[in-house]
């Protein structure tokens, strides 16, 4: 991997982190009046996956969408404006954090019904195959999705027609406050995909290079007619399920667990690697931080300066 590629993997992760930290901080002002699910701690997956994609490739996401959206190249200002409910938001304010879209970069949409976009991603891959375009589609899905029947239906159909889709499972072991072992029997998730007839791999989702290289292979397979590919990545959600805060006080997971999750920070880990290998130095780091800081405050300024929609706007576009 080129040094430049490594640096962009790193800064893409850092950018997502900083954006979300800024969102978390400013959420308390109560001007972003919508539910928000942060992906802090899980950035390596979003970034590793999207780095292996072309702009024309498609991505479908879920309630925890910020990272996917940004990694795929989604417009930061339009995202922040969306959280502030402004007309310049990527959905004109109609969606909020749980509904992001940027068709220009192949980010097809995110919605919060668990598993809800998975069959849509399959449909997108199906369309590519019908139209004969070379695009692949990525479906980001949480560990919770494997309890939803529609996800199995999606796996079955994509395997049946050997569609160019890559399922990326972000396994953070939780659905809200419920651990996986209270929702699923003791068996690996990727085996489900395997049983549906597609190649499946499980790996550490905190290692951005590993994520990216696995996805690169999967994309190549999918793009070359070898059908759907499945990747399961471990991850750890640092903050509360929904909202900006940490949630140690709820005690549904131990402080040790949270600490060990945070100690496995994909960004710190990668920074260390890059510093050690000389691919990055302290100054470059500072430069990246500064650049991100500038971009983030510009996005907030843009959002706050944007005009507010009214109920009149809300009457529009019920039908195409």
């Amino acid at each position: 991997m080129h040094d430049q590629t490594k640096r962009s993997l790193f800064s893409a992760m850092l950018r997502i982190r900083r954006v979300e930290e800024a969102l978390a901080t400013r959420y308390a002002e109560q001007m972003m009046r919508c539910p928000m699910h942060l992906c802090i701690g899980q950035e390596a997956i979003a970034v590793g996956v999207c780095a292996a994609l072309r702009k024309e490739d498609k991505v479908f996401s879920n309630h925890r969408a910020h990272g996917h959206y940004l990694a795929k190249g989604g417009d930061l200002s339009a995202m922040v404006a969306e959280l502030y409910g402004r007309v310049t938001g990527c959905c004109g304010g109609r969606g909020g954090s749980m509904h992001l879209v940027d068709l220009d970069v192949g980010f097809m949409g995110a919605t919060p019904i668990v598993g809800g976009t998975v069959p849509l991603a399959v449909g997108s891959a199906w369309a590519a195959s019908l139209k004969g375009t070379p695009d692949v589609t990525v479906s980001f899905l949480g560990d919770g999705c494997f309890e939803e029947g529609v996800v199995h239906e999606s796996l079955n159909f994509s395997a049946l027609h050997r569609l160019p889709i890559i399922f990326v499972c972000e396994n953070n072991d939780f659905s809200v406050y419920t651990r996986r072992d209270e929702r699923q029997p003791n068996r690996p998730i990727y085996r489900i995909a395997e049983a549906h007839g597609m190649p499946a791999v499980a790996a550490d989702g905190n290692d951005v290079e590993m994520v990216s290289s696995l996805v690169r292979t999967a994309v190549e397979n999918a793009r070359n007619g070898r059908g759907p590919q499945f990747l399961e990545f471990d991850a750890y959600r640092w903050r509360e399920h929904c909202g900006p805060d940490f949630d140690d006080h709820l005690k549904y997971r131990s402080v040790q667990e949270i600490e060990s999750g945070m100690n496995n920070c994909p960004i710190d880990r990668y920074r260390k690697v890059l510093l050690q290998s000389g691919c990055l130095d302290q100054q470059a780091c500072t430069g990246i931080e500064a650049q991100i800081r500038k971009e983030v405050s510009a996005a907030f300024e843009f959002a706050l300066a944007s005009s507010k929609p009214t109920i009149k706007d809300a009457w529009e576009k019920v039908y195409a």
Binding site: L120, V122, G123, A127
Partner: protein, 362 residues
């Protein structure tokens, strides 16, 4: 009555032809559903399509109603125009999530950036012991969802034209077919034409009572209207609603302003039916024109029993409509011609198979 064309097709044939012509015209159109390319070809409405357009555009489908609805939505978002088929509307209950949460809302949620041009054909079963899980008329359940369009054509002519309009529409359109209309024929032009979604159509003119009817009930109302007019000199204004969402209330209002009396006849369970919605809208807007309270004709509020002996009196028919019209006019069964009319209306064949006595054209 409409375009002059001597050619007669059944409703089922008209559907087939509309799919054929739409696929011919627009290579983005695909057809998918359980059994689409099988020997029975969805009551013959998809016959030959797979042979003509190939297995890449005409699909069978796994038994995955919700997942495949989602896949069709995803394909529609990506430039394909899917026509999805459920042999029984009851199976579509499995797909409510995708229809209501995604198909209906995607265009709206994403501020009009994308749209979901898809058609879902859903067939309402009836007769020969279809029973509780295979004969529900669920139109109101879909019609209450903003973002969906719901059509229920009655004639073969409209079936073709509305199917084409539905396929060309950039929104999700649920196309509900009553199984007992499939064999009924009508003048159907052989060219490619549209019948607009959202417009009712008068099937029979009269100035005594307005009968706004949906799907098969419009067929039954027409039978009632003809006999009433012939034998009793009573004029029913039969409006075939054709679309369930958006409702063409205007056409009903116009008629009610003339007749002052309204019957709404629906194929669904009475309570919560779209008939109630229509009555409510008419009353809200034309209260002062009404000479009597509107009347709703629908199926009783219990699941459809299988036994032919129970199903026999389950469905309202032309006689029910005629009796309600008489009532509204304050006439009794002693009225002149009533017996003659009833003698005409009496079903001759078995009650649980489609009426072959009148099989078109409209």
């Amino acid at each position: 009555m409409h375009d002059v064309a001597e050619r007669q097709l059944t409703f089922a044939e008209a559907i087939r032809e509309s799919l054929d012509q739409a696929m011919e015209k627009d290579s983005r159109v695909i057809v998918i559903g359980e059994g689409v390319p099988d020997p029975k070809a969805i009551f013959n409405t998809t016959a030959g399509l797979c042979q003509k357009y190939g297995a890449r555009r005409v699909f069978d489908m796994p038994l995955s109603e919700n997942g495949l609805t989602g896949a069709c939505i995803g394909a529609a978002l990506s430039g394909i125009r899917p026509v999805m088929i459920h042999q029984r509307i009851d199976f579509a209950l499995l797909a409510m999530d995708q229809l209501v949460n995604n198909a209906a809302k995607w265009h709206y949620m994403f501020n009009g950036k994308a749209s979901v041009p898809m058609v879902v054909r859903m067939i309402v079963g009836r007769g020969w012991g279809q029973g509780p899980q295979h004969s529900q008329s669920l139109q109101a359940m879909f019609a209450m969802v903003p973002g969906l369009k719901v059509v229920m054509p009655t004639t073969a002519h409209d079936a073709k034209g509305m199917m084409i309009a539905a396929i060309e529409d950039d929104n999700p359109v649920l196309f509900i077919e009553h199984r007992w209309l499939h064999h009924v024929s009508d003048n159907v032009p052989d060219y490619y034409y549209r019948v607009p979604i959202g417009q009712a159509r008068t099937l029979h003119e009269g100035s005594d009572v307005t009968v706004a009817a949906f799907s098969y009930m419009a067929f039954e109302a027409l039978i009632a209207a003809k006999s009433m007019s012939m034998e009793m000199g009573i004029g029913l204004d039969v409006i075939d609603m054709r679309t369930v969402r958006p409702l063409d209330v205007e056409s009903v209002l116009t008629s009610v302003r003339k007749t002052g009396r309204l019957i709404v006849a629906d194929t669904a369970f009475r309570t919560g039916s779209i008939a109630g919605e229509l009555i409510s809208q008419v009353v809200e807007q034309a209260f002062s024109f009404l000479k009597a309270p509107p009347v709703r004709i629908a199926s009783p509020d219990f699941p459809t029993p299988t036994s032919p002996f129970m199903a026999e009196d389950y469905y309202p028919g032309p006689q029910t409509i005629a009796d309600a019209a008489l009532d509204l006019m304050g006439k009794t069964k002693e009225a002149d011609g009533y017996r003659r009319m009833s003698a005409v209306l009496v079903r001759k064949g078995p009650h649980d198979a489609p009426n072959r006595e009148f099989s078109g054209p409209f």
